[in-house]
């Protein structure tokens, strides 16, 4: 990886937030955000498997141990339940843990600690033991990885009372959403789209979000005819689709949901009241996926104005396939266009 970020990061050792605009990859943007969080909050800790000396298998924590020491950025034994269970105790002791689960599928061995402990401790302790834990999970598919390295767990996390869930779609979002999530007093599952780690984009340091608070959804492209709702890596794909559709005179709005819990119902309603048509796109399997929740929220808010049922373009109800087949599984441009076509051509019975 490029060391530019580390060199410039080292020059900002006082943790002063950056100014201006820079071209960064998502990996660099996340690294910078963690750097600033560690500098600003002496109780913030970064840890997980290979997070220290190696800098993480995706190098998101690169250079942080050298800068902040082995007390604040450290390697743990290889046990996800241990990492998350330990995070609970550290949070009880007043720390802000930022643990990493190395890959999405490895959150499963920690599910008991995530669901039964992290998500419930604030409730169980009647608010006396908040769990300000920012759980970073490299997520979703698209990198030809082994089994359990391409899972989309957002519906599972979003279903658990007590968890909040967010996924950035580009470097700018990654930088601002991670800083925002790591300042929250509640547990946030931070799903990083691993297929987007190396794509560069503009990060505007001065503005968390010209369109509003980093707490809600964000219109990434305004349009009049149909709303594509997506998150994570699917946002970039939907923006591509919108450009292609524009050639045919179809003006598509792309809404980056960003927060998968809580879902920004007002933003969904505002967009679809305008476009009167919606397609939800996600990598996770169809059945009981988050697309169903989004479709219901849209239907509830916009039933009178909808011109067609909300369509879903998603992964299939199959175990995430091996690399050779993952392009068949992940919603591609053609499948999203077919979904759009079904909505546009819908005729009332």
């Amino acid at each position: 990886m490029s060391n530019a970020i580390l060199e410039s990061g080292a020059a900002m050792a006082d943790g002063t937030p950056r100014r201006g605009v820079e071209q960064l990859s998502m990996q660099q943007a996340l690294n910078l955000a963690l750097d600033e969080v560690l500098a600003a909050n002496p109780k913030a800790l970064v840890f997980g498997e290979d997070c220290g000396r190696l800098g993480g298998v995706f190098r998101v924590t690169d250079g942080l141990q050298a800068k902040y020491g082995t007390g604040r950025v450290f390697d743990t034994p290889l046990a996800e339940s241990g990492i998350l269970g330990m995070s609970v105790g550290l949070a009880m002791a007043g720390f802000h843990p930022i643990p990493e689960v190395q890959f999405d599928g490895f959150a499963y061995p920690a599910i008991n600690q995530i669901v039964c402990q992290i998500a419930r401790m604030n409730y169980r302790s009647r608010g006396t033991m908040p769990m300000p834990i920012t759980l970073r999970v490299p997520s979703f598919g698209g990198i030809r990885a082994p089994e359990h390295h391409g899972e989309s767990l957002e519906a599972l996390f979003a279903h658990v009372p007590g968890l909040k869930v967010v996924s950035p779609s580009n470097p700018h979002e990654a930088y601002h959403l991670l800083k925002y999530a790591a300042a929250r007093p509640d547990p946030v599952v931070f799903m990083e789209p691993k297929s987007r780690y190396w794509q560069k984009g503009e990060v505007d340091f001065d503005s968390a979000d010209p369109a509003g608070s980093p707490a809600g959804a964000k219109v990434m492209r305004a349009g009049r005819h149909l709303t594509l709702v997506a998150w994570g890596a699917m946002v970039a794909r939907c923006l591509q689709v919108a450009e292609l559709a524009a050639e045919d005179g179809i003006d598509i709005e792309v809404l980056d949901l960003r927060w998968l819990k809580p879902i920004d119902e007002a933003a969904l309603a505002a967009s679809v009241r305008k476009t009167r048509r919606a397609v939800v796109v996600h990598e996770a399997p169809l059945t009981s996926g988050l697309g169903a929740e989004v479709a219901q929220l849209i239907t509830q808010a916009c039933f009178d104005t909808l011109k067609a049922p909300v369509e879903r373009v998603t992964g299939f109800d199959v175990p995430y396939p091996s690399g050779d087949l993952e392009d068949e599984y992940i919603p591609n441009i053609d499948r999203i266009l077919f979904g759009i076509q079904r909505v546009l051509e819908y005729k009332r019975g």
């Binding site: 339940s81 241990g82 330990m86 008991n112 302790s125 033991m129 908040p130 809580p262 119902e265």
Partner: protein, 353 residues
């Protein structure tokens, strides 16, 4: 079960650094007895309350008074922190936790209990078997990072020792040299499954060697041995030597819970044979023989226990339900629009306001 000589009968007491703690004074011995009587009386009363419909359920600890009171007594509540399961009433009492607030979990008022865990130095009551053991490791590692000298003590049983989290916790603690005391109450039974069908090798303490961790296997029915072992373990961990495991051999004389029927898996004869001598009666005879206490003191302790339990019963019965809004308000520190909407609907449709 083997009868274990006391204390430090199992192994490795010599691995623990530092001198033995001061012997308990006569006053402390009497205090321990009073605590055990209070716990015994509250325990048996809670079963009666369940039968009377005052509380919906309870997990008795009959027979484990010495292990619980002795270990809880060794805690320094100005700096240490304890992570219980759902059967640590005696520990809570010995630590001075508000017992109405503690017992409220059995009244079904609030899962974690109504006591303030930070002030009490007792984490919320934990229903997941082995669920809080890793939390103790995290809390203890926080002490290291903050350069403080608190020690975390975490409780689990022979049944929980089968859980993967227990292995992860012991390994993490040993790798990080975290100041943790793993206090295992081996009470012979995990609901209906006996230790020999649960713990391969027969000893949880023996596993500590694999983590390079000292372990004490003690007679958990000897309250003095329990206090001494726990104090030594705390001193060892506090001095920066890493975690210690104590396996206190005891016996669950009652059912697993008020819903359990031990007659389906063990006979009364087996119970009699395996339980050994009642730890409370054993301590009473010892105090008498040593001239530390007399019958008048025992009568006084029992009267005090009865008064205390009566006070707790009144407190429990006076507890109303928590307001339903707490269901919504205590999920997050920063609530969500969806939760606010659900709370508003609930109020409108359930409270008609």
């Amino acid at each position: 079960m083997d009868t274990l000589p006391s204390p430090f009968s199992g192994n490795d007491a010599g691995q623990l650094s530092g001198p033995r703690s001061e012997p308990l004074t006569a006053e402390q011995l009497r205090e321990l007895f009073s605590l055990m009587v209070a716990v015994r009386h509250l325990d048996s009363s809670a079963i009666a309350w369940q039968r009377q419909g005052i509380i919906p359920g309870y997990a008795p600890e009959l027979g484990q008074e010495a292990a619980q009171v002795g270990s809880g007594y060794a805690v320094d509540t100005t700096r240490d922190f304890v992570f219980p399961t759902y059967r640590e009433m005696g520990v809570a009492r010995a630590m001075g936790v508000d017992m109405v607030a503690y017992m409220s979990t059995h009244k079904a008022t609030w899962h974690g209990g109504l006591y303030d865990p930070l002030q009490s130095r007792l984490a919320p009551i934990q229903a997941v078997v082995g669920g809080s053991v890793l939390h103790a490791v995290g809390w203890a590692h926080g002490q290291t990072l903050d350069q403080k000298d608190g020690v975390a003590m975490t409780y689990f049983g022979d049944g929980a020792s089968s859980q993967g989290d227990i292995h992860e916790a012991m390994n993490f603690a040993a790798v990080m040299k975290a100041p943790v005391v793993f206090f295992v109450q081996n009470n012979g039974w995990a609901i209906s499954v006996p230790t020999e069908r649960q713990v391969a090798g027969g000893s949880v303490a023996a596993r500590a060697a694999g983590y390079g961790m000292p372990a004490l296997r003690i007679d958990g029915n000897d309250v003095v041995a329990v206090v001494e072992a726990t104090r030594r373990a705390f001193a060892h961990a506090r001095a920066g030597n890493g975690p210690v495991l104590i396996e206190a051999m005891t016996y669950r004389r009652g059912p697993h819970s008020t819903s359990d029927d031990p007659g389906r898996y063990r006979s009364l004869n087996e119970e009699r044979d395996d339980a050994g001598e009642d730890p409370l009666e054993r301590f009473r005879r010892r105090l008498l023989a040593d001239g530390v206490a007399d019958e008048a003191f025992f009568a006084e302790a029992l009267a005090a226990a009865k008064a205390e339990v009566e006070h707790i019963r009144a407190g429990i019965q006076a507890l109303g339900s928590r307001p339903g809004t707490e269901m919504f308000d205590l999920v997050f520190q920063e609530t969500t629009p969806a939760l606010q909407a659900q709370a508003a609907n609930w109020r409108e449709e359930s409270e008609h306001v």
